[in-house]
């Protein structure tokens, strides 16, 4: 059965790596639903958060292939339940809408969004949340005409009390030490 999985890849920060990673999805015809790349808590190490819809068996195999990439330190996969995750959405609505009633303001407040910038013509609203939540606000704002909308890729951290990569790196250092 297919379901949403979050793959987290820790890697060296090298050029071309994104391409090497995504090839593994492309050649298996797996669509990437969302992708975020950023620095991790550990210096010099990048973190990719990749969301796909797949069976666990296929996810496991892809993760195995990702770990084979020379610059990849470690790859994990999780279900949504096992992670705390968020996305960020930005909405641009005509500023008029704020003047006509207090509806927009209510929506912003009730959904835990906030206003980033107001100009004469437009207002930019920011909301973080799960996709359904940011989509809900989009639908709500639609009656005023959303001029622009953008949603970021997902970012996620595990519910584990420990940072598994730190543990992993400790083991790895010991292993490399032993190789001398």
């Amino acid at each position: 059965m297919k379901q949403e999985f979050i793959i987290t890849v820790y890697s060296e920060n090298n050029i071309g790596l994104l391409n090497r990673l995504t090839i593994n999805f492309t050649r298996r015809k797996i669509n990437i639903e969302s992708l975020t790349v950023s620095a991790s808590a550990i210096q010099g190490i990048s973190k990719f958060t990749i969301v796909i819809n797949e069976t666990e068996e296929r996810v496991k195999k892809v993760v195995g292939q990702l770990e084979k990439i020379v610059d990849v330190l470690k790859a994990f996969y999780h279900t949504n339940d096992e992670m705390v995750f968020q996305e960020l959405a930005l909405y641009k609505v005509p500023t008029e809408a704020l003047y006509e009633s207090d509806k927009v303001e209510h929506m912003v407040r009730n959904s835990g969004a906030r206003i980033l910038e107001i100009t004469k013509e437009f207002t930019v609203i920011e909301k973080t949340g799960h996709k359904e939540e940011t989509k809900q606000l989009f639908d709500d704002l639609s009656q005023f005409g959303v001029l622009q909308f953008i949603r970021s890729g997902r970012i996620a951290i595990t519910r584990d009390p420990i940072e598994r990569l730190s543990e992993f790196l400790k083991e790895r250092d010991a292993l490399l030490e032993a190789m001398d």
């Binding site: 071309g16 195995g64 770990e67 020379v70 610059d71 330190l73 790895r172 490399l176 190789m179 001398d180």
Partner: protein, 565 residues
């Protein structure tokens, strides 16, 4: 090592020397000229083989790597030079062959501008390399080369590409070389888990009908002796994949033959009767398993593999033993009880008898008119005292040669297994000959594949490489024709060839050649070839519609193997 001020190009050559490179296959061009210029001063230490096409260079490097176990090295220029390497790089990737390919690239300020002969070599080769890297700064050159060799040759080997911008080749640096021995994000080989070995040993001791399948992993790990020790202690019959061929001598009493589509009858049929499969350094390729859902249905499976991504990739295993066969096999041997499986082994011998009667006898000692590929292969193997390096191209001749050629030493089989690259044979044979200078190299090619890279006869002649080429001419793209006959109602759509005079062509390259059309001439023809001191081509005109059997039809189960049409 003290530093020394050199150019990037000199640094490339000095680095290769540090890595013990003695042979390079390549083809020059504008973007790699500085490196070629630096090479000119080192012709005593490094032999450069100028091939006639970059594809020739890369297959030659593969052949060299296969017989030596060392990385094959090739040079090519940017753009078309680099793209001509791609087939061989893909071939090396799927067959786990260590290669270091060095390509010239346009100068770094021109990158991304569609400059003359610019192509995105890193992008193009990314899906077919173990690692690739573009060098745009001279200081990183020695380290990149050291990494390239380490990655190519360690763990599960594979091809790497270093794309070096032309300006880097001119710039100077303080050269110092340090071999790479580790990379934080890359563990080539995991330590063997003794608990897994114990679990495996328990399954082995309990098995009534165990069958061992070995692949190239045994050869890569140099674990031939360890394999022998294990099967001899346990009495377990051992079958090989196409790439595992030659790891165990052909006449070893526990050698039960080849697996897969055109493998032997016994190992295929018995796979589904076995109660335990021990797979060592093989990856359950679909040409080996046939239909996976009906593969080894009665067996527990132990998989001993260096690459963690291979375990459970195709078949679900009961025990996965991660690590090199060189380390895991002796641990396993220590943990298992001595055993004999004579009745079980006898079942394989009974199958051999059936196969001998229905197929092998007719192939290798035919009585009907018309030469068979099988008898040609048998004759060459005999005249080489079953001790030659076998190189094959792709097609019927490849399967027939793999079935009937006999081996006494390991690293004696050079073939394109995973990619099935026609045109591989002749260039790979020259590389193999350079890697195994004192051995006889016999290369079987079909009339189709030969015409894909026959220009390399020029390289063979120029370098006086004494390879023996046996051209099995059936005037067809034989393997495709066989499928058309069996599965497409004999509709021979574009598989018949109008061939040139191969003898004249070969002579044109300055290589002696002889054509055999009758059985009476075969033995003398082969003998003459083997006795000739230098390169030689023997064309054997064989039956036009000779087929390779047994055969597991595509998509069928291995136990549905058929012996005749």
């Amino acid at each position: 090592m003290a530093t020394k001020r050199v150019t990037g190009s000199q640094a490339v050559i000095l680095s290769l020397l540090e890595e013990g490179v003695d042979t390079i296959f390549g083809y020059p061009g504008g973007a790699i000229m500085p490196i070629y210029d630096a090479l000119y001063d080192f012709d005593k230490q490094i032999k450069h083989i100028l091939t006639r096409h970059e594809q020739g260079a890369v297959h030659a490097a593969e052949g060299y790597a296969k017989v030596t176990g060392k990385a094959g090295v090739c040079f090519a220029t940017s753009g078309p030079g680099a793209t001509n390497l791609v087939t061989g790089i893909a071939d090396a990737q799927i067959d786990s062959i260590p290669l270091v390919c060095i390509t010239g690239q346009v100068a770094s300020p021109l990158l991304g501008t569609d400059a003359f002969q610019e192509s995105d070599v890193i992008g193009i080769t990314m899906p077919v390399t173990k690692w690739n890297y573009q060098v745009t700064c001279v200081e990183e050159l020695p380290e990149a080369i050291a990494k390239a060799f380490y990655i190519a040759q360690s763990g599960r080997p594979g091809p790497v590409v270093l794309d070096i911008a032309k300006d880097v080749q001119f710039q100077e640096l303080d050269f110092e070389y340090k071999k790479c021995t580790k990379i934080r994000s890359y563990i080539p080989e995991y330590a063997v888990d003794p608990f897994k070995v114990k679990e495996a040993a328990e399954l082995i001791d309990a098995a009534k009908k165990p069958l061992l399948l070995f692949g190239q992993g045994v050869i890569i790990a140099n674990a031939e002796e360890e394999l022998k020790a294990f099967i001899e202690k346990t009495g377990i019959p051992a079958a090989w994949t196409l790439l595992g061929l030659s790891a165990l001598p052909s006449d070893h009493p526990l050698n039960v033959g080849m697996l897969g589509m055109h493998g032997n009858y016994g190992p295929n049929i018995k796979t589904n009767e076995a109660d335990l499969i021990i797979a060592v350094g093989m990856r359950f390729d679909d040409r080996v398993t046939g239909k996976v859902s009906s593969y080894a249905t009665n067996a527990k499976i132990i998989h001993m593999e260096v690459d963690p991504a291979e375990i459970n990739k195709i078949v679900k295993v009961d025990v996965g033993v991660l690590g090199s066969a060189k380390r895991s096999l002796p641990m396993l041997t220590m943990n298992v009880k001595e055993n004999k499986h004579e009745a079980w082994l006898q079942e394989f011998r009974d199958c051999d008898k059936i196969e001998q009667e229905k197929v092998i006898q007719k192939d290798t000692y035919p009585t009907k008119e018309g030469l068979t590929m099988g008898e040609a292969v048998r004759m060459v193997s005999e005249k080489a005292n079953h001790d030659a390096v076998l190189v094959t191209d792709v097609g019927q001749q490849q399967m027939i040669a793999s079935r009937y050629f006999k081996f006494t030493q390991s690293k004696s089989n050079v073939t394109s297994g995973g990619l099935g690259t026609m045109g591989y044979g002749v260039p790979a044979a020259m590389g193999a000959q350079l890697g195994a200078k004192d051995r006889t190299v016999c290369c079987f090619v079909g009339d189709g594949g030969f015409q894909m890279t026959l220009q390399e006869l020029g390289t063979i002649a120029q370098n006086k490489l004494p390879v023996k080429i046996i051209l099995l001419n059936n005037n067809f793209l034989g393997m495709v024709r066989q499928w058309q006959q069996l599965f497409f109602d004999r509709r021979y759509s574009f598989t018949e060839l109008q061939n040139p005079d191969f003898i004249m062509i070969t002579n044109g390259f300055g290589i002696p050649a002889h054509k055999v059309t009758k059985r009476e001439e075969l033995e003398a023809g082969v003998k003459k070839m083997m006795e000739h001191d230098g390169p030689y081509l023997l064309e054997v005109v064989v039956e036009k519609e000779d087929n390779v059997f047994p055969m597991v039809p595509a998509g069928a189960s291995v136990s549905d193997i058929i012996l005749e049409a």
